[in-house]
Amino acid sequence: MLLALPILLPLLTAIVLHLLPQRSRLLRLVAFAGSLLVLGTAASIFARVQQAGILVLQVGSWPAPFGITLVADLFSALMIAMVSVIGVAVTGSSFAGVDPRREALGYHSLIQVVLMGVAGAFLTGDIFNLYVWFEVLLIGSFVLMSLHRTRAQLRAAFTYVGLNLLASAFLLTAIGLLYGQAGTLNLADLARAWPGRRTPGLDAALSMLFLTAFGIKAGLFPLFFWLPASYHTPPAAVGALLAGLLTKVGVYAMIRVFTLLFPDPNASVYRVLLVLSAITMVVGLIGALAQRDFRRVLSFNLVGHIGFTTIGLALWSPAALGGSILYVLHHMLVISTLFLVSGLFLRQRRTTDLNALGGLYRSQPAVACLALIPLFSLAGVPPLSGFVAKVGVITPMLGGGQYLLAAVALCVSLLTVLSMARLWEEAFWKPAPVASSASALHSRLALPILAPIAFLVGLTLALTVFAGPVSSVTMRAAGQLLDRNTYIRAILGEEVPRAAR
């Protein structure tokens, strides 16, 4: 039952939010309380998985290959924990004020729907169910993106919708072909039964279809163009939610499906993924350097760093995969924080264009220093969490003799430092442009808008201090991912007969 709660609680909260009178302060309180409850559940799921190993819930008590299975191994539990943390920060940031028109149009319940979809995608053990959760979270995010009237926002929403629906069509195609071959949809059953009867040609086609579908969602080169075209338009809290969670769902699904279904590390798809990850890193960061808008710089950085999270899968070693998982966790936290930071500028200056920013360090040094931590953490400046995560990804490359790849990753890190230093210099350090009015400069940023940022920054620091224990957990999570038999046994048991076709 515990496993269903991260899905049921947001659903319940969303329903309650719909029933409450719109435009009341109660909405924010209920949404926040709901997110806190999910955080509590996520913590207890994590504790249970740490203690007892993989948790399984057969929904409706249908035995494994026939019904829908919810599974939480360490990787899922970590991701669920991170989702709930970001959920708390995003719903908490609404206390600082939400555009009343959006609030009346169901802003709070849509956020809960997205959180529900993400949690479902992380917990499901059934590949068609994964597709359904993708659609749930996409619909939620579509509506969140398009609760606007301006042309740029509508255009961004259309790009986002079109490309993501294309990805869903690819995913559905791959699932259809997979079912035709294997006759089952349960991931554990697929992992057990399918390798025996695959045909090499279809195998390659399927893996490429999955790579394309998840690659679009994760934002891999050359499929990432929808991301920087759309993530800079919605309000900061929505940006933080989407940037922190949606691409990571793509990465999660890629790691989960590929480790279970394509366990041959010499398959050509991993070579393709390796090259694409490296190109993604380089292209993303070069794109970031060319941008003159705080949120666009962040969007390109988001794309660039996705390369770090998929490269561990391509390298296929427990150490590299563990490093990548650590990178996913760190990146979710930091990129959400930075999108919330962009909300500070939106509030104070009504823009995130770097040309119009500056002078914040002079008026509010404490806020500028608070923002410095996630910026430098993303850049990987020691001893912050980004550094730990980068060491986790790059050390296995050196150990495995992938020197060229390690060089690329290190150069990209250097470019990130450059991009982040420039961002801080332009947005906080340089004197404010003459045009900006004195009142805008000196309006203080209130506590409600700073509290969620401080909360996430505190967690980034915690991730830095407890880097040792956390990375040992991610290593164990990677070990679990690569050891398919434990996963299969946890779900199917020893004696369950093969599903009749």
């Binding site: 068609f128 996409l138 579509f142 509506v143 042309r151 255009r155 929403a157 294309l166 069509a169």
Partner: protein, 113 residues
């Protein structure tokens, strides 16, 4: 029959992708419809088209007599999801048309304000 379905699915995919590459929103939406119908037909044909009874299984009869109900339930789910998404994107396109008077993606352009 399977060959015919495979060809139909292929044509739908090709037409859908071609339409999605166009600039007009209406064509993009029609492309999406064709694409989702193409994948539905693909699921049906990939899982094997058989002449068999509906899967109301009476004990003792060999299972080969009955059709596999799973692909059909997958398609049903996909149709429902596709319908919802289609309705949403139609509304979105309508909003774009209302605010810009055009359904050409390039003329939407950046904000003038």
């Amino acid at each position: 029959m399977e060959l015919l379905l495979a060809v139909v699915a292929g044509v739908l995919y090709a037409a859908g992708l071609y339409l999605m590459l166009r600039r007009r929103l209406a064509q993009l939406i029609i492309g999406l419809i064709l694409l989702s119908n193409g994948s539905n037909i693909l699921i049906l044909s990939a899982a094997g088209v058989t002449r068999a009874k509906p899967p109301l299984i009476t004990e003792g009869l060999p299972l080969e007599q009955f059709a596999d109900p799973v692909p059909q339930s997958l398609i049903l789910t996909a149709i429902v999801i596709g319908f919802g998404v289609l309705a949403f994107s139609l509304v979105l396109a309508h909003r774009v048309h209302q605010s810009t008077g055009s359904d050409d993606i390039d003329t939407i352009g950046p904000d003038r304000a």
